[in-house]
């Protein structure tokens, strides 16, 4: 049986990255490197107003004085920030927006990824903003959404057309001097999605952004800003893939969510960047800052993430629970295989009274990978009657991988209750034996157990994504339990 399992592990580790193809499209690249001229060039290409350029330059100057953080449980190879192309756009565009204008080759790319941009073919109930390299190529269902007053467009468009909203909220949740990668992003971000849900509107369809890195030697720096006004609701999905390359590529995104009074935001991510090959060569560095601000009373932000890709993941979707009675949730399944490294988790900052948060984190590590959960729960003195429950489980598949848990709990009042529990184990032989003796093959049994293990989180995903996530889990994991 040991051998069987070894074989299965081998099989799984041979599984190729499905999305590793590269589309040969003409791109408009700017020169390598990073300096104020480059930033001016990016800003100029996007025809940005002065205040935006100011914001970028301010960030860049601050970034020069910063050092890369070393505290994560990660081995990050030296990154040469001068060896990256900070802006790369497919050369197809006349003007974005109309379906007929989109380059057929790009459409083909997205079709291949299973994201058709043709609205008729699209799953009803999902609007997509497709971002390739540095720019958004197409946003679907814009008109339908506009009828409800919902603004859903690329960040570049938002800066042009809704400057007041952008000005008010950009950097309000993740300030430009927040951390090394967020500051870098503030200086060089090229596109991303912008979304505003007006008062009292319940967004009728899932909004979604699909990120694709295509060009070589580029970094992707997108910025997402999502505002849910009073009593509104939105569910937002994010997916990402990249071609297989021997070099590492940097992806440093910032996502800001703002939930006002009684608003509710559900943000789901299926992250499937190219993870590198079996020897750990290549792959995406995924250094992302995601933070939600529960600004109003009774607001709610929920993060769900399925992390299967990336060579290195450094990502802590957080909630600042500023409003009274606000709720923050974090559900995560992080899978690492081969030489992947992940240091991911969340921060729940309780500032408002009666604020509540839930953290469910499931880590699965296989191969020679390292998977860490790092989380902070901070209850300030004024956050009376706050409640937090955290559960972080790790599953180890193989004897060369590592699973780590680094929680931080800080409580400063007497009426709050914080609970944290974590376990680390492997699939027990008893469980396997039980399944086997009932005629379930080892591989199926492992699939069964792992899916059961991750179910709590998968259940939180919108239906459209749950299917994809389950498939992904199967590819990355099924049978890889030793």
């Amino acid at each position: 049986m040991e051998n069987d399992q070894d074989n299965i592990i081998r099989e799984v580790t041979q599984t190729d990255y499905k999305y590793g193809f590269f589309t040969d499209i003409d791109t408009d690249n700017i020169p390598y490197g990073l300096n104020e001229d480059i930033i001016r060039l990016i800003s100029g290409k996007k025809n940005e107003p002065d205040w935006m350029l100011e914001f970028r330059l301010k960030s860049y100057r601050h970034w020069l004085g910063m050092e890369m953080p070393q505290w994560a449980h990660l081995k990050i190879p030296e990154i040469n920030y001068q060896d990256i192309i900070y802006y790369s756009a497919p050369k197809q565009r006349i003007k974005p927006g109309k379906f007929e204008d989109v380059d057929p080759q790009l459409l083909e790319t997205f079709n291949k990824l299973g994201i058709p941009l043709d609205e008729q073919k699209l799953l009803t109930g999902m609007a997509v903003d497709a971002v390739i390299d540095s720019v958004s190529v197409k946003t679907t269902f814009k008109k339908n959404l506009a009828e409800l007053g919902i603004i859903f467009c690329s960040m570049g468009e938002a800066i042009q057309e809704h400057p007041d909203l952008v000005k008010k909220y950009l950097g309000s949740v993740v300030p430009y001097r927040d951390n090394y990668f967020a500051t870098l992003n503030s200086a060089v971000f090229t596109d991303g999605s912008f979304c505003y849900i007006p008062k009292g509107v319940r967004c009728p369809m899932e909004l979604s952004t699909y990120f694709r890195i295509n060009a070589a030697n580029t970094g992707q720096f997108e910025r997402t800003l999502l505002i849910a006004d009073d009593e509104s609701y939105v569910s937002y999905l994010e997916g990402c893939t990249a071609p297989m390359r021997d070099e590492h590529q940097l992806h440093a995104a910032v996502v800001e969510l703002v939930a006002l009074n009684d608003a509710s935001i559900k943000y789901s991510t299926v992250q499937n960047w190219y993870p590198g090959d079996k020897e750990g060569k290549g792959g995406i560095f995924n250094f992302v800052t995601k933070r939600g601000m529960c600004k109003g009373k009774n607001s709610r932000i929920s993060w769900t993430q399925i992390e299967t890709g990336s060579a290195i993941t450094w990502k802590y979707p957080s909630c600042v629970l500023r409003g009274d009675n606000s709720t923050g949730e974090f559900y995560s399944v992080a899978v690492t295989n081969h030489h992947q490294q992940a240091d991911t988790g969340t921060k729940m900052i309780h500032l408002g009274k009666n604020s509540k948060s839930t953290i469910i984190s499931k880590g699965i590590s296989a191969g020679k990978s390292n998977n860490s959960y790092r989380g902070l729960v901070r209850v300030t003195q004024n956050a009376v009657n706050s409640r937090n429950y955290s559960q972080c489980d790790s599953l180890l598949l193989g004897d060369k991988c590592g699973a780590h848990t680094f929680p931080y709990i800080e409580v400063a009042n007497k009426t709050s209750i914080v609970e944290h529990e974590a376990t680390t184990s492997k699939i027990s032989e008893d469980q396997m034996f039980y399944c086997n003796q009932r005629g379930i093959s080892t591989e199926d049994a492992i699939g069964l157990i792992v899916n059961g293990y991750a179910k709590e989180v998968l259940n939180k995903l919108p239906v459209e994504f749950a299917v994809e996530a389950q498939k992904l889990l199967q590819i990355s994991l099924e049978g890889s339990v030793g």
Binding site: W71, H73, V379, Q381, V384, S394, L396, L397, G398, D399, K400, C401, G402, A403, H404, T405, F406, P407, Y408, I409, E410, V411, A412, N413, K414, T415, S416, I417, V418, E419, H420, E421, A422, T423, T424, S425, K426, G482
Partner: protein
């Protein structure tokens, strides 16, 4: 920037203290100790006193603690009173072998003839370095890594005396050994003693350490204790900390366990201005068992910091940690726990638990239970909670005619009981139960157990 320069000057002043007393320090010790001393001061120059930037010290600033002016004694002071009159730690029905440390120096008190016949060595560390050089050099400084922590390096550079205990192979001590660690002086002083406890194969011992402060001066104690538990040995190690609010105590304990050894530690922090306990356990043999329990009760502006590291280096070991804290008034507490399971330490079972009760809105607790695991066939878990006394339980008690104050006390006692119950010596358990009870009632002060009646 300003803080940066001040920090440098603190470390420099501590190095200066070493340099200006170098000859005194070197004259007092053997070559082996002095060689380590010089390495340690070099290391200290590099890393210095830990700052808040240091991950393991991020919740408490040691700077003010070390920046006070302290006297340091580089030789044993003559005392003009009988040391055993000084202190009566009255544990009824507990017959112990007593060792006394006064300001970090060992003072002869009574004899331990019957033990000496069995080959047991108990007494001054400085003396043991001379009398048992082979045994001493085999262990001294081998477990307390000066690179790991500036405070350990600082102690290693300055330590002159402390307690040395050796229990030979196959000897089981019938009575517990009690170490009474007193700080008492007319001036504010800094004490840095060093203990070494060596248990031979198949031996068994029970050790109780009581920390007391007997004068109202400000004290800083920075002690290091190294413990070796050889194959199949068994040790119960209980520490009761009861110093006044002007005392700062940093105690770093390094336990090195060999195959099939069993060590159980109990740290009861009753009183003290600032307490930092570093407990580092190395499970260096197969089949070890380690239990760590801790209870801290703090109020006013007290701060208690418990930091543990369990290093599972070998397979088939079991470890179990449970730390509890009750924080009242403006008190703050920290728990840093780490379970480290190395690559080949299969079949490890490790558990870590931390429960805290905050009684006021000004009290604070930071807890950080970490797991770092590199082996797959393991069962590791941890849990941490922060909360308050159960309202339903309070209501239940009050509805049965028990006053709210008494009900609160009952619930707190019950909370503490889980830890006290783990103490294996019954009379000691009763005594500590009694002390905790008194502490929770607010009756325990540093003067209660003192014979001096100074104020």
């Amino acid at each position: 920037m300003y803080i940066e320069t001040e920090k440098i000057s603190l470390n420099e002043s501590l190095v200066d203290l070493f340099n200006s007393n170098r000859s005194l320090l070197l004259r007092a010790s053997t070559d082996h100790v002095n060689a380590l001393r010089m390495q340690a001061i070099d290391q200290f120059k590099k890393i210095g006193i830990p700052t808040k930037k240091d991950e393991n010290y991020k919740y408490y600033d040691l700077d003010p603690v070390f920046s006070r002016k302290y006297d340091v004694h580089f030789s044993r002071k003559k005392i003009d009173f009988n040391i055993s009159d000084l202190f009566k730690c009255d544990i009824p029905e507990l017959d112990t072998d007593l060792l006394i440390l006064l300001n970090g120096w060992y003072y002869e008190n009574g004899n331990h003839d019957d033990l000496m016949k069995q080959g047991v060595v108990m007494g001054s560390l400085a003396l043991a370095a001379v009398e048992y050089p082979q045994l001493f050099e085999q262990h001294y400084g081998r477990y307390a890594d000066i690179k790991s922590d500036g405070l350990v390096a600082f102690n290693t550079a300055f330590a002159l005396d402390g307690i040395f205990i050796y229990v030979p192979d196959n000897v089981m001590l019938e009575r517990p050994v009690q170490i009474i660690n007193i700080v008492m002086d007319k001036v504010d002083s800094m004490v840095q003693h060093r203990n070494l406890i060596v248990l031979g194969k198949n031996s068994k011992a029970s050790i109780v350490i009581c920390d007391h402060s007997l004068s109202a001066n400000q004290f800083l104690t920075n002690s290091v204790t190294e413990i070796v538990a050889s194959e199949n040995s068994s040790l119960d190690y209980t520490r009761v900390q009861n110093e006044h609010n002007g005392a700062a105590q940093i105690s770093s304990t390094f336990i090195h366990q060999l195959a099939d050894s069993r060590v159980s530690t109990n740290t009861i922090s009753l009183h003290g201005g600032f307490i930092r306990n570093n407990l580092n356990v190395m499970l260096a043999g197969k089949g070890c068992e380690n239990n760590m329990y801790g209870l801290s009760l703090s109020d006013k502006f007290q701060h208690v910091d418990n930091s543990t590291l369990i290093d599972h280096a070998m397979p088939n070991c079991t470890s179990n940690q449970k730390f509890k804290g009750v924080m009242d008034d403006m008190a703050s507490g920290v728990f840093y726990g780490k379970i480290f399971v190395r690559k080949d330490a299969q079949h490890t079972h490790a558990y870590q638990g931390n429960n805290n009760i905050l009684l006021t809105d000004d009290a604070k607790i930071n807890t950080r239970p970490h797991l770092e695991i590199y082996a797959d066939d393991v069962k590791c878990s941890h849990g941490a909670t922060v909360g308050q006394l159960d309202e339903n339980a309070m209501f239940y008690l009050q509805s049965r005619g028990i006053g709210s104050k008494e009900a609160r006390l009952m619930l707190m006692t019950a909370f503490a009981h889980e830890i006290i119950d783990q103490i294996k010596v019954d009379p000691l358990k009763d005594r500590i139960y009694d002390l905790v009870n008194k502490r929770l009632r607010g009756e325990l002060s540093r003067c209660n157990s003192c014979a001096m009646n100074c104020n």
